[in-house]
């Protein structure tokens, strides 16, 4: 019986020939990503236990993103503390304001994600980086502290669910719609404890960025991680960003999966996930009129350049509806600059949207776009829990960047297909 890519990466990181689902192992961690919210408790714990030295400073990448630029005194002090700590620990990879971005967009963009590696962060959407063939998962603050102190962390080897995706996406349908469809089918705990491995002709056709959108939301189905076997697109993406060597692992043809789910996406429509669960997806053509106060384009799920391009295609020469405001947040500084070069930011602002500097900001109800009670937002983010973007009495609907842009134009949740050219 063969092994999955996840089993192979984990085995290699605990110096074993193979590992089986259910086994507990201690794995070497290649990249420890730290953001502004969950890092300070870990620093506290380490100090309390007298474990004040980071074992491998070169493996740590720090990227304050949630409350950046500092939202208030408390967040300013949090980041100030992390800066001091980074200096004490000789951690050089620090993406401070000016080079900043949302962590899960910035990490791969800056070449820190390589196939075959292990990556952790005190953040649930760490599953994103599996899109490049890495084992990448979110953990708690104690885990983060332990990994910083030792460079290792214990894991239970997960079972793998295989999602075989076939067919071609129709006009106006994107990776976001695919993952919303998967979560709609299996539910918010449909992949509990498990790795979600995505494969098939659709995955091959998707860009690396779109693959990230899919792996990003594995956690919204309860998954431990999402992963995609690396191909030429993966290696091209990585080699354009780092000279460091890496090892490619692939699932064996006879690897064992706990479940195989086949989905043909040919007839998939744009989906909108209704409050308050990501699994509440409904086809956009079948929903009633839902006026929106805010349209939000950004986040680690859909704040990348291809997302901004699609939205700009729809917004070009149009106006955001009178009673709706639109916020565009390019996920990283590089994406912001690229969007600027391509004239996308002008398109957004001419349409009446506002463009902010990269930040998590409103995605988690932090700052820069909080919803009032009774307000409704169509958002390209990943979570629509109660109160996620502000008041517990506000509502968040999740959709693709195209759906967000079309909704901004119409002032209500709208089908993006009528704004787009037929794909060749």
């Amino acid at each position: 019986m063969g092994n999955t890519i996840t089993e192979k990466i984990l085995a290699a990181h605990c110096s074993r020939d193979s590992v089986k689902p259910g086994e507990l192992i201690n794995a070497e961690i290649d990249v420890i990503m730290c953001h502004d919210v969950t890092t300070t408790p870990a620093i506290d714990m380490l100090a309390e236990k007298g474990l004040s030295k980071v074992a491998y400073p070169e493996r740590v990448v720090i990227m304050p993103d949630h409350f950046v630029p500092n939202k208030d005194i408390k967040s300013a002090e949090m980041v100030a503390r992390i800066r001091r700590w980074a200096r004490e620990q000789n951690i050089e990879k620090f993406y401070d304001l000016g080079r900043h971005g949302v962590c899960h967009a910035l990490l791969p963009e800056q070449g820190h994600v390589k196939p075959g590696t292990t990556i952790i962060c005190g953040d649930s959407h760490t599953s994103t980086h599996g899109a490049l063939g890495a084992f990448s998962t979110g953990i708690g603050s104690t885990d983060l502290a332990a990994a910083l102190a030792t460079g290792e962390l214990w894991f239970k080897v997960p079972e793998t669910m295989l999602f075989r995706l076939s067919g071609k996406l129709g006009k106006g349908v994107y990776a976001k719609d695919v993952i919303l469809e998967i979560i709609r089918r299996i539910g918010v705990d449909g992949a509990l404890y498990k790795t979600m491995e995505f494969t098939g002709e659709l995955i091959e056709a998707l860009s690396v960025e779109s693959r990230m959108t899919i792996c990003n939301m594995a956690i919204e189905a309860g998954g431990k991680s999402g992963i995609i076997n690396p191909d030429q697109k993966t290696t091209d993406y990585v080699k354009a960003r780092t000279d460091e060597p890496f090892e490619i692992y692939q699932s064996d043809p006879d690897a064992e999966y706990c479940q195989i789910i086949e989905i043909d996406v040919s007839n998939l429509e744009p989906l909108v996930a209704f409050p308050h669960l990501p699994s509440n997806g409904q086809p956009v053509s079948q929903i009633p009129d839902i006026p929106v106060d805010q349209a939000y384009l950004g986040s680690c799920t859909n704040g990348r350049i291809e997302d901004l391009r699609v939205a700009a295609e729809i917004l070009k020469g149009k106006k955001v509806a009178r009673n709706t405001r639109m916020i565009v947040v390019p996920a990283t500084t590089e994406i912001w600059k690229q969007a600027n070069r391509e004239g996308l930011l002008d398109i957004f602002m001419n349409a009446g949207a506002t463009v902010s500097t990269p930040t998590c900001g409103a995605c988690l109800g932090g700052h820069m776009g909080i919803l009032a009670a009774g307000e409704r937002c169509i958002s390209s983010t990943n979570r629509n829990f109660v109160g996620r973007m502000g008041s517990p009495k506000s509502e968040v609907y999740l959709g693709s960047p195209a759906t967000v842009a079309a909704s901004a134009v119409e002032g209500k949740i709208a089908d993006p297909r009528k704004y787009l050219q037929e794909k060749p």
Binding site: L24, L46, K49, A146, W154, D189
Partner: protein
Amino acid sequence: MTGKAHCYQRDHINTDEIIPARYLNMDKEADLAKHAMEDIDTDFVRRVKEGDVIVAGVDFGCGSSREHAVWALRGAGVRAVIADTFARIFYRNCINNGFIAIECRGISQKVATGDNLEIDVEKGIIKNLTKNERYEFPAIPDFARDIIDAGGLLDYISRKVK
């Protein structure tokens, strides 16, 4: 170890139910313990005794990753949780805090509140002294046992590192 069971046959008991978000401005076990389980079992804190055991269904501890859920239960005197299955981050947090979490499929249908359970963590056996039954569970691996015995992950590694 022997303890009295508090059985919840329900699945998907989330960390908000174990310790509601409104108490997350505290992080001391004793403070959190006063509110353990209060949204689904108002009487729990009054009934629970040192050394008791929680028994529950599938996906116990799902939702938010708050470690406070483990602290609240331990502070209330709970010695272990036995569930059909656990949510991933809750399970990690249990072990990382040196708290015993046992996965034993079907347990929530076999045990009733008030049953006296004797747990042999080493052998992977739960004896229901009240019903005179015996349930087996996959033994907690040595590795996780070492963490639990050390009192938690950071104590465990501080021995190794220092």
